[in-house]
């Protein structure tokens, strides 16, 4: 097995988001359209007047002007939530050029500040989000209560408003039917496991998101430390299982990996679910050292780019049948050995 930095052999990405609301504006379920539009402009002005760097490094996307497929593609890249992609009226997205930092404006909360990093990197993801939050805090008045912390639309986010999540690739756990057990064990510790796009979504491609549940009573630092501990445990489990699964039946393991690789290299039609399934096996083959010449981050990027919204926005094919053909063609090209 190859030892990889930031546990990239198992951890796909780390995401941190901070929920904030402006004191003087009603929350999502009460606010008027006009007030929402006003809030969007207020945040935009406050942000872009904060520093020359902000202007240079970020751009603002008006969500309602965005075609649906592009919104979907942003969701597939985990830059916005599914809800934000669906309800685009008065939504604004501040997005950094490198696409690692973003602020959703008029989401479930007025502001959802988000930071994304590859692999397991909780501190690395938290720090830029916190800096961006401070920058906005200096110019906007956030709703805050001494006892309850930052006040949020839904009381489940009350307090730090911090939701940190790590996306894990757990093929060996799934192969050994251990996912259910892991999910309930993690749940007992106050953490949640979800599918790849968050709340209520499916766990395709052996991908799972582990995130903190509680936001009140723990500081940001302690929340990150505890989540990190739980995630490390799951990573160790997955590594042990991968090794044991391989040792038990090396031919089966290699066959699963290379069969998927073959399909990705030569198939002429692939649904998004099939693509995810085979990319999952390919990733396993790459990080196990069985398949050379690829980087796990490259595979993770393909997982996003092979999704429906991204295929539609990149190639303009809306017909689902045609999309499957395009997807197979795209993956064949991307995986062509150098």
């Amino acid at each position: 097995m190859v030892e990889i930095q930031k546990s990239l052999d198992v951890a796909v990405s780390t995401r941190v988001r901070l929920a904030r609301n402006l004191r003087e504006y009603p929350f999502k379920s009460v606010i008027s359209r006009a007030k929402q539009a006003e809030l969007l402009e207020k945040v935009k002005d406050a942000f872009f007047s904060s520093s020359a760097q902000a202007k240079k490094e970020f751009s603002l996307l008006y969500m309602e002007k965005l075609p649906e497929a592009e919104a979907l593609s942003l969701m597939e890249q985990h830059l916005i939530s599914p809800e934000f992609a669906k309800e685009r009226k008065n939504g604004g997205l501040l997005l950094s050029k490198d696409r690692t930092l973003s602020v959703m404006i008029n989401e479930e909360d007025h502001l959802r500040i988000q930071s994304l990093k590859p692999g397991l990197d909780l501190d690395g993801a938290y720090e830029p989000a916190e800096r961006l939050e401070t920058l906005l805090d200096e110019r906007l008045s956030f709703a805050f209560d001494e006892r309850l912390g930052y006040l949020t639309h839904c009381p489940t986010n009350l307090g730090t408003g911090l939701r940190a999540s790590v996306m894990l690739h757990l093929p060996a756990l799934v192969m050994n039917n251990g996912a259910g057990k892991m999910i309930s064990a993690v749940g007992k510790l106050g953490f949640t496991v979800r599918g790849i796009y968050g709340e209520g979504s499916e766990a395709h491609g052996d991908l799972f998101q582990v995130s903190n549940q509680l936001t009140l009573g723990l500081s940001e630092r302690d929340t990150l430390i505890r989540l990190g501990d739980v995630v490390q445990q799951i990573i160790l489990q997955e590594r042990t299982l991968r090794k044991a699964t391989y040792e038990r039946q090396p031919a089966n393991y290699e066959d699963a990996v290379f069969r998927s690789y073959g399909i990705l290299r030569y198939a002429r039609r692939l649904t998004s679910q099939e693509a995810l399934e085979h990319l999952s096996r390919l990733r396993l083959g790459v990080v196990s050292g069985l398949i050379k010449g690829y980087d796990p981050r490259q595979i993770d990027e393909l997982c996003m780019k092979a999704q429906a919204g991204s295929i539609i926005s990149a190639f303009g094919v809306t017909d689902p049948q045609q999309r499957d053909v395009k997807r197979a063609e795209f993956l064949r090209g991307a995986l062509e050995p150098a």
Partner: protein, 175 residues
Amino acid sequence: MKCQQCKVNPATTRIVYNINGNTTELNLCASCAAKSNYSSLLGSFDFDSFFGNLFSHSVMPAALGRGGEEQTCPQCGSTFSAITERGRLGCARCYTAFYNALLPSIKRIHGNAEYKGKLPVSAGPEIKRKKELASLKEELNKAVLLQEYERAAEIRDRIKALEGRENDGGNTKES
């Protein structure tokens, strides 16, 4: 695995509910998932209704005025029953307006917890001092438990200095 609803087709969709740390899993085939509204990429399950249930255990009379008529939030006009119904608050002010009525629900979600975390720039020096003191005391306990006595002594000095500042403030006022 077979779909848990029709028990015929293979399950392709796993739905995981997590309510207060209790997870339940439901494995459905594509068509049953579609029937239950889980199939669409953008669909998400209705968390509101779960949350509404969580709220309904709250002490309703706490939100009633003396005459029995329902109080409203002075900022956004939400009533407590409206908040309960949608599982969401109307504005920041709702939290203070219905603090006592909301507290049982908040405790049910987060436990008996006091806020420990970042403070906004606008927080007054008194809040900052109080929070810092609380977190130092917690750190002191941890250091003592870990038998890190040198660090504990350092923390104790910082606590003393902070508490001293409070007394100084008091003295200046008196003199």
